[in-house]
Amino acid sequence: MASPKTVPKDAQVMMQILKDMGITEYDPRVINQMLEFTYRYVTTIIEDAKIYSTHAKKSNVDADDIRLAIQCRVDQSFTSPPPRDFLLDIARQKNQTPLPLIKPYTGPRLPPDRYCLTAPNYRLKSLQKKVSSSAGRITVPRLSVGAVSSRPSTPTLGTPSVQTVGTKVGTPVSLTGQRFTVQIPSSQALTVRSKAPTPTTPTVQNVLINPSLIGSKNILITTNMVSQNSSSDSTSLKRKHEDEDEYDAL
C-alpha cells in the first residue's frame, strides 16, 4: 500500500471512513472502487440538483434541490427490502392457503412450460426460401412471448431439428413450445421494428430471433410466420413426449 504521504487526500479520507466502520482488512483496490463510486454518485446527484434548480428558476443550487435529487435517485439505485409489516401481511395471506396435494406419478414435477426455461430460445433458419404453394394457407405473423433467462442458455432438450422441409413446404422449422401466443396481423408486425427484423414479405420464410432484453424483464419476442396448419404443434408435442419418455425411463 502506498505510504500516506503520497496518497491523495480523497483516498486518505476513504481509508479513514473504512477504518471508522470497522473494516481493517481490505484489498488496496477497494479504495479506488469506493472513490469511483463516490465520484459517480455525487456527480449524478449534483447534476440532477442543477436541473431541478434551473427548473425552479433559482440562481443557485441549494439544499432543497440536493434533497430532492437524492430522494428521486434513492428509489432507483438503493432500493431497500420491503418493510416488516408489509412482509408480515403478505406472509399471512400466503400462509393461509393449505399446501397443495401432490399428484402421483406425473413425471418431472415442473411448473407450467411458460415458467420454465426449457424452451429453445432460437430457431434455425430454414434452408429453402420457398413461397408457400398452397393458396389456402394464410401466413400470419405471430408474436410469441416467453420468459427466458438473461443469458442465453445452452440449448435445452427442445433442440429444434430441421425436419422434413421437403415434405411440407412453407412450414417453419420448429416453434417455441409455449402455449401462450398472441396473434397480431401482419401490418402491426411490420411496425415492430425494434424488437426483431421483420420479414419484408409475408411469404418469405426467414425468421430471426433477437433475444433482446427489454427493460428489466427478460422477454423474448419472436416473430414467426406460421401457417394455419402448421406442424409446429406436432413438433412441440413430440418434444414433450420425448421428455416424458426420458424421465419415466429412469
Binding site: 471508522d20 466502520m21 470497522g22 437524492i70 434513492v74 438503493f78 432500493t79 431497500s80 427490502p81 420491503p82 418493510p83 416488516r84 409489516d85 412482509l87 408480515l88 403478505i90 406472509a91 400466503k94 400462509n95 392457503t97 399446501l99 397443495p100 396435494l101 401432490i102 402421483p104 406419478y105 418431472p108 414435477r109 415442473l110 411448473p111 407450467p112 415458467y115 420454465c116 426455461l117 426449457t118 433467462s149 438473461s150 443469458r151 442458455s153 445452452t154 440449448p155 435445452t156 432438450l157 433442440t159 431439428s161 418434444r239 420425448e242 419418455d245 426420458e246 424421465y247 425411463a249 429412469l250
Partner: protein, 739 residues
C-alpha cells in the same frame, strides 16, 4: 404542582401519536401557515411580559389547562384566583407551547429547561399549534417530553446507571440488561428529533459502557446522525417499531418500577412502556453468565410463550420396502417380511414399533411425494450402506477427507454433496455452478433428440444407452446466473440441483441434461441460501429481504413465506421430517417455522453474531447453530432451550454436520480447522425431565474442552462444507486461500 407531576406519566402513555405529529411539525414548518398566524400573537405577547415572569405564567396556565381538562373546576377557580390569572390570558398565552411545568418540582430547573427549549428550537413552540382549537396542555407536555430535552437524556441515563449500580448484586445483572435498549432508543429519538450534536454527545458518553457483543451494532449507530439516515435503514426501523424483549424476575422489576416512578424519570419510563417488552417471571434472578448466554440478538430475548408451541420433532416412519433377498444381510424393516435365512441385524434406522411416536408428525401432515421405484432402489442402497457404517465415538473418530478447490481465487461461495457422496457441486462468485463426480464414474448427459430416436428402446440397458458417452467428463459447468452463487443443494434423488444467487433467483438444474430448467423469482434481493427437503419436491430459500420462502418444484410462486426476522436470512435448513424449517439470520436469532401453516414456533437467541450454519441431529431432537462469533450452540427443539455451548473456534463457522447416528458433531470454520465434538455427551447431560422449562433458565456447564474430541488444521484452507458419508467418513470442502 403535584397535579402536573403526575400528569405527564399518564398522559404520555395515552398520547403516543401526538408527539409524532408534533415532531413532524418541527420539520415541516414551512407548510404550516396556520400555525404561523396563530403564533404571531403569543410571540408579540411574550416579550411584553418579560422572560421569567412569562415562563411562570406559562407554567400556571398549563396547570390550569390540565385541571380544566380533568374537570376539577373548583381547583381551577382557586388556582385562578390565587395566581391572579385572567380568563383572556389563558386563551392567548396558553397557546405558547413552552408551558412545560415538567415533573421536576423545581422552579429553577423548569425555567432553565424552558429557556433551553426556546434556544434549541425556537420554532418548536409555534409548531405545537398544529391543532387549531385550544391546544391541550397534555399535548404540550407530552410533546415536550418526547422532543426531549437533550441534556436531560444524559441526566436520566446517568441517574438510572447510578441506581442500578446501587442495587443488590443479584438484581444488578438483570437490570443491566436495560442499558443497551434504552441507550439505543434514546439515541435514535435524539437523532429522529434532529438534535444531532446532542445525540453525538450522548453517544460518546455512554457507548463505552455497553456490552462488548453489541459493539458491531454500536458502530453502525455511530454513523447514523441524521434523520435521513434512518429512512433507508430497514433494520433500524424494525428495531424501533418492534419491541425489545427483556426477561426480568419479578423482584428486580418491582425495584425498577418503584425507582422510576418515585424519581419521576418519565422519559425512561416512557421508553420502557413504548419500546420494551418486559417478560416477568417468578423466581430467582438470573446471574450475569446466564443472561450473557441468552442475550445478544437484535430484539432481545424470546418471550416465553413464543417457545411454547408444540413441535413435532420426531422422525417420520420409514416406508416399508420389500427387499429382494440377497446373500448379504438386509434391512430389518420388513415387518411382514418373509422369514429370512439369517438373523437380520438390528438396524437403528427402521422403527420396529408400529405405534406412532407422540413426538412425530402425522404421515400426511404435509403432503409429501410418494416413492417412485427409483427412490425405493435408493432406499435399499441406503440400507445396505448403513449396515457397513462405522460406529463413531470418542474412541473412534472419523477419518476426514478434504476436497480442496484450487485456483478458485476466493470465489468459492457454496458447496454441496449428494447424500451418497457421489457428486459435488460448487457455487462460485463468477456466477457459475460446477458439478464434479467424486467417484470414478464420469458425468454423462442425455443424448440429443436426434440420437435418441435411433436407439433401441426395448433393450435392457436403455438407461445407459440414452446417456451420451462422447461428452462424458469429470466435471460440468452450469451457466445461467447473473451474480455470485451463494447456495447450492442437491435433490435427494440426485436428479436436480438448486442454486441461489445474488441476482435474486433460485435456479433448478437437471442433472440428466445439465441444463437449467426453472428460474424461481420471488426474492428481489440476493438469496443467501437454499435447501432441498429431505424427501425432495419442496425447497426453501432465504435472502436479503428478511424472509424465507418455501417452494415446490412445480409451482412458480412460493407456497409459504416465513416472515419475522429483523435482518437478512442467511441460512436455511429442513428438519429431517420435512415439517419444519430452521432459519438463521443476521439478527442473531434462529427461528423454527412450521411448514404447514407458516408460523414461527421457536425463537432461539444467544448468538452474538450473524448465524451462518445450522444442522439438525439425525434423530430430529436437537439443532446446532454456528455463527461469526465462533461459538456453536446446541438447542433442544422440543423445549426451545439452549443445552450446550461449544467454544473453541476463533472465526466464523460455516459448516456444521452431525454424524449419521448423531454421536459426533463436526464443525468447520474460517480459521482453517475442523473440530469434532462429542454430541452424545452434550445431549446426555440434559436428558432430564425436570427441566427448567418453565422459566427457561439454563446453567450451561463450561465443558467445551471436554467435549472437544479433535481439532484438525488444513493448510490455509477455510472449511466451507462438511458431509458425512453413509459409512461415516467425513468429507470436507474448501477453497485454498493462498494469503
Amino acid at each position: 404542582m403535584a397535579a402536573v407531576q403526575d400528569g405527564p406519566m399518564e398522559l404520555d402513555a395515552e398520547k403516543e401519536t401526538k408527539p409524532e405529529i408534533l415532531s413532524d411539525g418541527t420539520s415541516n414548518l414551512s407548510g404550516n401557515t396556520a400555525s404561523g398566524t396563530l403564533s404571531s400573537s403569543p410571540l408579540t405577547a411574550a416579550p411584553a411580559g418579560g422572560a421569567p415572569k412569562m415562563e411562570d405564567q406559562q407554567t400556571l396556565i398549563a396547570v390550569l389547562q390540565f385541571l380544566k381538562r380533568n374537570k376539577l373546576s373548583e381547583s381551577v377557580e382557586i388556582l385562578r384566583r390565587e395566581a391572579g390569572l385572567g380568563e383572556h390570558q389563558e386563551d392567548s398565552q396558553a397557546t405558547d407551547g413552552s408551558g412545560g411545568g415538567k415533573g421536576d418540582g423545581d422552579g429553577g430547573d423548569a425555567n432553565s429547561l424552558l429557556s433551553r427549549v426556546f434556544i434549541t428550537s425556537a420554532a418548536a413552540p409555534q409548531s405545537m399549534l398544529v391543532k387549531k382549537d385550544q391546544p391541550d396542555v397534555s399535548v404540550v407536555l407530552s410533546a415536550y417530553s418526547q422532543q426531549g430535552d437533550p441534556p436531560l437524556y444524559q441526566v436520566y441515563y446517568s441517574g438510572l446507571k447510578n441506581f442500578i449500580e446501587s442495587v443488590l448484586d443479584c438484581h444488578r445483572a438483570e437490570l443491566s440488561q436495560l442499558f443497551y435498549p434504552l441507550f439505543v432508543h434514546m439515541y435514535l429519538e435524539l437523532v429522529y428529533n434532529n438534535h444531532e450534536t446532542k445525540a453525538k454527545a450522548f453517544f460518546d458518553k455512554f457507548s463505552g459502557d455497553q456490552e462488548c457483543y453489541y459493539q458491531d451494532d454500536l458502530r453502525i449507530l455511530c454513523g447514523l446522525t441524521k434523520k435521513e439516515h434512518l429512512k433507508g435503514n430497514e433494520v433500524l426501523l424494525d428495531f424501533r417499531t418492534s419491541r425489545f424483549v427483556l426477561r426480568i424476575s419479578r423482584d428486580s422489576y418491582q425495584l425498577l418500577k418503584r425507582h422510576l416512578q418515585e424519581r419521576h424519570n418519565n422519559q425512561i419510563w416512557n421508553i420502557i412502556q413504548e419500546h420494551l417488552y418486559i417478560d416477568i417471571f417468578d423466581g430467582m434472578p438470573r446471574s450475569k453468565s446466564q443472561i450473557d448466554s441468552m442475550s445478544g440478538s437484535l430484539a432481545g430475548e424470546a418471550r416465553r410463550e413464543v417457545n411454547k408451541a408444540k413441535v413435532f420433532y420426531g422422525l417420520l416412519k420409514e416406508p416399508e420396502i420389500e427387499v429382494p433377498l440377497d446373500d448379504e444381510d438386509d434391512e430389518a424393516e420388513n415387518e411382514e417380511g418373509k422369514p429370512k435365512k439369517k438373523k437380520t441385524k438390528k438396524d437403528s434406522l427402521g422403527s420396529k414399533s408400529k405405534k406412532q411416536d407422540p413426538n412425530a408428525p402425522q404421515q400426511n401432515r404435509i403432503p409429501l411425494p410418494e416413492l417412485k421405484d427409483s427412490d425405493k432402489l435408493d432406499k435399499i442402497m441406503y440400507m445396505k450402506e448403513s449396515t457397513k457404517r462405522i460406529r463413531l465415538g470418542p474412541e473412534n473418530l472419523p477419518s476426514i477427507c478434504f476436497y480442496t478447490f484450487l485456483n478458485a481465487f476466493q470465489g468459492l461461495t457454496a458447496v454441496d454433496f449428494t447424500d451418497d457422496s457421489s457428486l459435488l457441486a460448487g457455487g462460485f462468485a463468477d456466477s457459475t455452478v460446477r458439478v464434479w463426480s467424486v467417484t470414478p464414474k464420469k458425468l454423462r448427459k442425455v443424448k440429443s433428440t436426434a440420437e435418441l430416436n435411433v436407439i433401441d428402446k426395448e433393450s435392457d440397458d436403455v438407461l445407459e444407452r440414452i446417456m451420451d458417452e462422447k461428452t462424458a467428463s469429470e466435471s460440468k459447468i452450469l451457466h445461467g446466473h447473473s451474480g455470485p452463487v451463494y447456495g447450492v443443494s442437491f435433490s435427494p434423488d440426485r436428479n436436480y440441483l438448486l442454486s441461489s444467487s445474488e441476482d435474486g433467483t433460485v435456479r433448478l438444474w437437471s442433472l440428466q441434461t445439465f441444463t437449467c430448467l426453472v428460474g424461481y423469482k420471488g426474492h428481489n434481493y440476493p438469496v443467501w441460501d437454499t435447501q432441498f427437503s429431505p424427501f425432495g419436491y419442496y425447497f426453501v430459500s432465504g435472502g436479503h429481504d428478511r424472509v424465507a420462502r418455501l417452494w415446490a418444484t412445480d409451482h412458480y410462486q412460493p407456497l409459504r413465506i416465513f416472515a419475522g426476522h429483523l435482518a437478512d436470512v442467511t441460512c436455511t435448513q429442513f428438519h429431517p421430517n420435512s415439517n419444519y424449517v430452521a432459519t438463521g439470520s443476521t439478527d442473531r436469532t434462529v427461528r423454527l417455522w412450521d411448514v404447514l401453516n407458516g408460523n414461527c414456533v421457536r425463537i432461539l437467541t444467544g448468538h452474538k453474531g450473524p448465524i451462518h450454519s445450522l444442522a439438525f441431529s439425525p434423530n430430529g431432537k436437537f439443532l446446532a447453530s454456528g455463527s461469526t462469533d465462533g461459538r456453536v450452540l446446541l438447542w433442544d427443539i422440543g423445549h426451545g432451550l439452549m443445552i450446550g455451548e461449544l467454544k473453541g473456534h476463533t472465526d466464523t463457522i460455516y459448516a456444521l454436520k452431525f454424524s449419521r447416528d448423531g454421536e459426533i458433531l463436526a464443525s468447520g470454520s474460517m480459521d482453517n480447522t475442523v473440530r469434532l465434538w462429542d454430541s452424545m455427551k452434550a445431549f446426555d447431560e440434559v436428558e432430564t425431565d425436570d427441566f427448567t422449562a418453565t422459566t427457561g433458565h439454563i446453567h450451561l456447564p463450561d465443558n467445551s474442552q471436554e467435549l472437544l474430541l479433535g481439532m484438525y488444521h488444513s493448510k490455509s484452507t477455510p472449511v466451507t462444507h462438511l458431509h458425512f458419508t453413509r459409512r461415516n467418513l467425513l468429507l470436507a470442502a474448501g477453497a485454498y486461500n493462498s494469503q
